[in-house]
């Protein structure tokens, strides 16, 4: 067989820059490397010396797609360091804000980035020519998520109303009422989305992942819980560094994360769903069952159905929060700067997002550690490619390239976050 190379120099419909190189010898996939060439921006370094209160605004700028995730991990880690706990309506409003981000980010990925792969389009704009009503439904759903972010956060990208200790201004129940109207319509659209994505053609690609996500005693997880896995991991967030390690790999400006004991693992919608199926709202659980999902899902191509179920849950949960909301007396709890170490992990749309800060006595940041979901998933993405490509080698080059790209997009990888992503280069000798 003659030497042959296939390249994808810039992976489309992901957030950030990356490439992929696959090496095939004698019909066997020897290596799959996800190359992240997003330029490093050094957030963990530039945070040193900043005031603790600046962390939510600064870390939001790591990712324009999921700024709320960064803000939530930052505020909870700081509150942990300062030994304060935010409860009641302020805690509920934070969950509501996260619902907005899940709806917006998942709708963006489901309709604009991922569905075109299943239906054979280059992008959603092309898809809209044949399926205008479907794309409009996706945009309308996304818009409701953004409406939650705008009302509660001030704006969709890099909200301004989040602070350590709570918010700058809390909404009145009357302000939230029109949002509830929109969310009821969005819940219907989310149900239709679950049914629509469940009808796609999925390759039979179940994988034996170690799934890692937060687990909370009562709730589907956003901001709180223990870090658990399907292989017995059950730790507090403060124990994260004892069990997980970040490694610097030559082909990536993203650090790879591994479990010290058992190597690669998976975070994100599949992990969250499989470990917290019993915490979904009855409506979301019924829709998942109707879509053919069991209590666990390990086919990365079906992540699009799981995201749809999570959008449905987020609409349901947002409505529940608004229904029970009473405006708090104060928008934030009082804080006193002190030396300390704080940890937090929250569930970004793409998976577990860990922050750790060490503070000086004056409340300035002495050390910052940020572990984004895509960096944790990178080894699993590479393993997926190594596992799946062997079966696809008979495909023509263009089709193989598209299938590889889709395999990466299954993860909704956020490369801007991970840097600290894609060319596809297939080397068949």
């Amino acid at each position: 067989m003659t030497h042959k190379t296939i390249k994808v120099n810039y992976l489309a419909r992901v957030e950030g820059e990356g490439a992929l190189r696959v090496t095939v010898r004698d019909g066997v996939v020897r290596a799959a490397e996800l190359r992240i060439f997003e330029p490093p921006r050094f957030f963990e370094a530039l945070l040193r010396g900043r005031a603790f209160a600046e962390a939510p605004d600064i870390t939001a700028r790591i990712c324009g797609i999921c700024p709320v995730a960064y803000q939530m991990s930052a505020v909870h880690a700081m509150e942990n360091a300062l030994d304060v706990h935010v409860d009641g309506p302020l805690r509920a409003l934070r969950r509501l804000l996260y619902c907005g981000e899940w709806i917006e980010s998942h709708a963006l990925h489901i309709y604009l980035l991922h569905a075109p792969d299943f239906l054979g389009y280059a992008g959603a704009i092309d898809m809209a020519r044949d399926h205008p009503e479907t794309v409009r439904r996706g945009l309308a759903l996304k818009k409701v998520g953004n409406a939650v972010l705008s009302l509660l956060g001030g704006r969709e990208v890099h909200p301004i109303n989040v602070r350590v200790g709570g918010f700058y201004r809390t909404p009145t129940p009357q302000e939230l009422a029109p949002l509830a109207e929109n969310l009821r319509r969005a819940r219907e659209a989310a149900l239709e989305t679950v049914r629509w994505t469940a009808g796609f053609d999925f390759p039979d690609c179940n994988r034996d992942y170690e799934l890692v996500a937060l687990r909370h005693p009562q709730e589907y997880p956003f901001n709180e819980g223990r870090i658990v896995s399907n292989r017995g991991l059950d730790i507090s967030v403060a124990e994260y560094n004892r069990h997980f390690v970040e490694e610097h790999i030559a082909h990536s400006t993203a650090l790879h994360s591994r479990l010290r004991e058992r190597n690669r693992y998976l975070v994100g919608p599949l992990a969250r769903y499989s470990l917290n199926h019993d915490r979904l709202s009855p409506l979301a659980r019924e829709a998942a069952a109707e879509a053919g999902l069991g209590p666990s899902c390990t086919n990365p191509f079906q992540s699009i159905i799981v995201r749809s179920v999570e959008v449905l849950y987020a609409c349901d949960e947002a409505l529940r929060i608004i229904e029970h909301y009473q405006e708090p007396e104060r928008a934030a709890v009082e804080l006193r700067p002190c030396a300390g170490v704080g940890y937090s992990a929250t569930e970004a749309p793409r998976g577990l997002l860990f922050h750790r800060y060490r503070l000086n006595g004056d409340g300035t940041i002495a050390e910052a550690q940020i572990v984004p979901p895509t960096a944790q998933n990178q080894p699993s993405i590479e393993e997926d490619l190594k596992t799946f490509i062997g079966d696809w080698l008979e495909l023509p080059d263009a089709a193989l390239r598209e299938r590889c790209e889709q395999t990466v997009r299954n993860y909704d990888p956020c490369i801007s976050c991970a840097t600290h992503f894609l060319n596809l280069e297939i080397d068949r000798a």
Binding site: P40, C63, G123, A250
Partner: protein, 260 residues
């Protein structure tokens, strides 16, 4: 029958950034399909794997220049673009990653990465206009999507965009906000900050933190004196100016006055 003119070609480029400004275009949920109808989205990798090579009528550029490779790439983007508009704090001023310009980049690398040899970066993060000619700069971290639509519409119809260059203070007055600095003593960068956000922070009982960058001819020195009278320390003032627009001339100069 007259020959149909081809639709204008739009390209969206990314350099060092968070993707938030180009997301603003996808966040125009009500207008996106109309925009896609009025022009040909010829290159937008965040949204489509389709790509039309060649030249573009309008290029939107997000992100700052932080690598030698990107410094060469922006030259190619400029050559292929009839009009080039930079969007956001990174592209117009260097972004939050320009904090390295005030530090030792080697120290920054050692904090984040274990192996120096794997990392290629420049010592500075610089705006696009430091490297190539730019036809218009739209400020904001992130940009305002309404203003982005105005910029696209203006360039497609061959006129200058109508983007106010006054301060956030004027936006507060237009909104009828009570001045939070005067009434409540809350430190606020509104008097020196470029309009565009709609005075968001003051509307949420928060002082402006300057994420739209400096307005035209800001009087930062007078504001600093006022902020000091409200109890800000030199360290606070340094951090206030040295954030998302740290590398913009007016904020850079003022921050140096408070750098011990």
């Amino acid at each position: 029958m007259a020959r149909r003119r081809r639709k204008p070609r739009l390209a969206v480029w990314k350099f060092a950034s968070c993707d938030g400004c180009q997301l603003s275009l996808l966040d125009c949920e009500d207008e996106l399909l109309a925009v896609a109808d009025a022009l040909e989205i010829a290159y937008f990798p965040e949204a489509s794997r389709g790509e039309i090579r060649g030249t573009y009528d309008l290029s939107l550029v997000e992100g700052s220049i932080t690598t030698a490779h990107d410094a060469a790439r922006i030259q190619d983007v400029r050559r292929r673009s009839c009009r080039l508009v930079t969007i956001g704090a990174c592209a117009t001023a260097g972004g939050i990653q320009a904090l390295r310009n005030f530090a030792d980049v080697e120290a920054f690398i050692s904090v984040v990465y274990a192996n120096r040899a794997y990392i290629q970066t420049l010592a500075t993060s610089t705006p696009i206009a430091d490297h190539v000619g730019v036809d218009f700069e739209l400020q904001g971290c992130p940009i305002n999507k309404r203003q982005l639509l105005e910029v696209i519409t203006a360039f497609l119809s061959g006129r200058r965009p109508t983007i106010p260059s006054h301060s956030v203070c004027i936006e507060c007055k237009l909104k009828g906000n009570v001045c939070i600095m005067v009434a409540h003593g809350t430190p606020c960068l509104g008097p020196v900050t470029h309009a565009g956000c709609g005075a968001l922070c003051p509307s949420y009982n928060r002082g402006c933190y300057g994420c739209y960058g400096p307005m035209e001819t800001p009087n930062t020195r007078a504001l600093s004196e006022w902020l000091q009278s409200l109890g800000m320390t030199p360290g606070d003032l340094l951090r206030v100016y040295r954030k998302f627009y740290a590398n913009a001339a007016a904020f850079r100069t003022e921050s140096k006055r408070h750098d011990p």
